[in-house]
Subunit: 311 residues, 2 copies
DNA sequence: GTTCCGCATGAATCGATAG
DNA sequence: ACTATCGATTCATGCGGAA
């Protein structure tokens, strides 16, 4: 994969079954503008693009605070590049939400969908990310905003989807679902059934498979670190498992603190993350697991020290 | 189909406190096309319009199967009339969801929002109705659809909203408070489903309620859910309580089986429902409580018999 | 080593105040 | 008038320290 060396890092993880090498994985984090970094990638490179771009008027320090009225114009050149580098069987997941501007929901997301279809994207589906711990507050004309859109776009009607990977609750998956049962559910069950919420929980546990819907429950990870991730790991994890297999290539053009690449690495997917903010770039680097590091074209000193001390 | 006088019914419910009349409520169900029936209502009549219009290509018998590509064009004249009859402080709740057409989500809802704003509507908010009991099924490239949009439109930035009426128990309320109650207390509460919770728990409720978010669960309002996925009573009930007070006027221009009027009646709101299908019209009539019936322009025999046997 | 309580912290939004 | 900044509001979550 082409790199200019200076502002890129790569992690190669060689896995073995017995003593047979199974996968050679790569995690690449690039510092810079995603348009500038994307043009060196060939067409049809990635199996999944999953990203949470800066919302309008937020992250103003690092992204210059795109105004709502200019958001579509700003984003369309990027989606055009993403369309190019996505494989025909690949999927693009866009996590986004419209701002309230003078009492109204702004329409830039609606317009973006319409414009992206003109570029050739297919708007396959809209998942709802239900955020249980949304921002507090009270206003006379509005409730708290507890959901965001996860828009699914594709190049073709036929695309890769591995439903079994999220249907079969393995490991902490059942645990995650359990944990995300709403409290209103628990209270309702308690008051109506009278035997606590045991019945509801046992329904989840007894089932071998959990059939998901297009509503995803996940909490934003609360800030223990200096830079807390707005993107909880479970969200990209769900889409990565759903739309890729091990060894596939994942791209996040707005990497932020590195969540997508971190999850991709944990799930044995190759990944590329692009981040324009040096501060977030460093943070993303430090979140990678120190497995085995290899450099592409010199400049080792830029890469190796950053990965120490995190596991 | 729409004939004046013949196909309309009205219910007047006089409520008393002691022997003092408190509210004089009216439930009016009209058979006919909603455009034709709406033009006799004066401007600024209704406090709330809540409806679930026929989705594109569904209910083809009654609405001639509106094609997705023609949906916006079909709906815009109606929204223009709704804008006229809505009070300046009123709210329009539109429950709608886009169909999948050749593998893609159709864009008629997005286009509808943009066009309605050109008519003068403000797109204040988009509530998500999370349907936990959504249709079963499995497709190779799609999960079950478990949510619908409830779009909130207004005429002005200032509108009536009664947030306290839909407050919900606090998140950790079950763990911290209810835990210490005995099982007999809980089961005793179960029998008093009609008014929500039992007395002893309602004491706690008064102190520990919080405002809901813009994600509505079909379980928000516990009640008899005999009607399946179509339009559960809890959904219009939630919006009627949120945006109207007793004695206010509610309109559903696509009444269907009569849920909105039925709920409005139960919540002591005046209501008008319009339904073009004779079959659904009869169903809606029969769902009204047999309180006291009055006719507008004769033709009593069309109305009275239908309401017997339901309570 | 559990369980429990206190506390800081958010992809927010409104309304008022200031330039 | 129109934009920019600030204070007030509010609650689910996870952490650390305490019982």
């Amino acid at each position: 994969m082409s790199t200019d060396g200076l502002n890129s890092s790569s992690t190669v993880n060689s896995r073995y079954v017995g003593d047979r090498p199974l996968l050679k994985l790569q995690t690449e984090i690039l510092l810079g503008d995603c348009l500038g970094k994307l043009d060196r990638f060939p067409d049809n490179t990635f199996d999944l693009i999953v990203t949470s771009p800066p919302y309008a008027d937020s992250r103003s320090k690092t992204y210059g605070g795109i105004k709502p009225d200019e958001y579509v114009e700003w984003f369309l050149p990027i989606t055009k590049e993403l369309l190019r580098v996505l494989k025909p069987t690949g999927t693009f997941i866009l996590n986004i939400k419209e701002k309230v501007v003078s009492g109204e929901r702004h329409t830039y997301v609606l317009e973006l969908i319409l414009e992206m279809r003109k570029q050739g994207w297919l708007w396959t589906e809209e998942f709802i990310w239900h955020k249980k711990n949304c921002y507090p507050g009270k206003w006379p004309n509005r409730f708290r905003d507890a959901w965001e859109r996860c828009l699914q776009f594709n190049k073709n009607k036929k695309f890769n989807m591995y439903q079994e990977s999220v249907m079969v609750p393995m490991g902490n998956w059942a645990e995650t679902r359990l944990k995300n049962l709403s409290d209103t559910d628990k209270t309702r069950d308690e008051s109506k059934v009278g035997s606590g919420f045991g019945k509801n929980i046992s329904n989840w546990l007894d089932r071998d498979k959990v059939y998901p819907t297009n509503v995803i429950h996940s909490s934003t990870e609360c800030g223990n670190k200096k830079h807390s991730a707005a993107f909880p790991k479970s969200l990209p994890a769900w889409f990565i498992k759903l739309f890729t297999q091990e060894g596939d290539w994942v791209l996040d053009p707005f990497l932020g603190s590195g969540t997508t690449c971190q999850v991709a690495q944990e799930l044995s997917r190759n990944s590329v993350g692009i981040e324009i903010s040096a501060e977030y770039y460093e943070l993303a680097l430090s979140s990678l697991k120190p497995l085995q590091y290899k450099l592409f074209e010199g400049a080792s000193e830029y890469v190796v020290p950053r990965t120490a001390g995190n596991s």
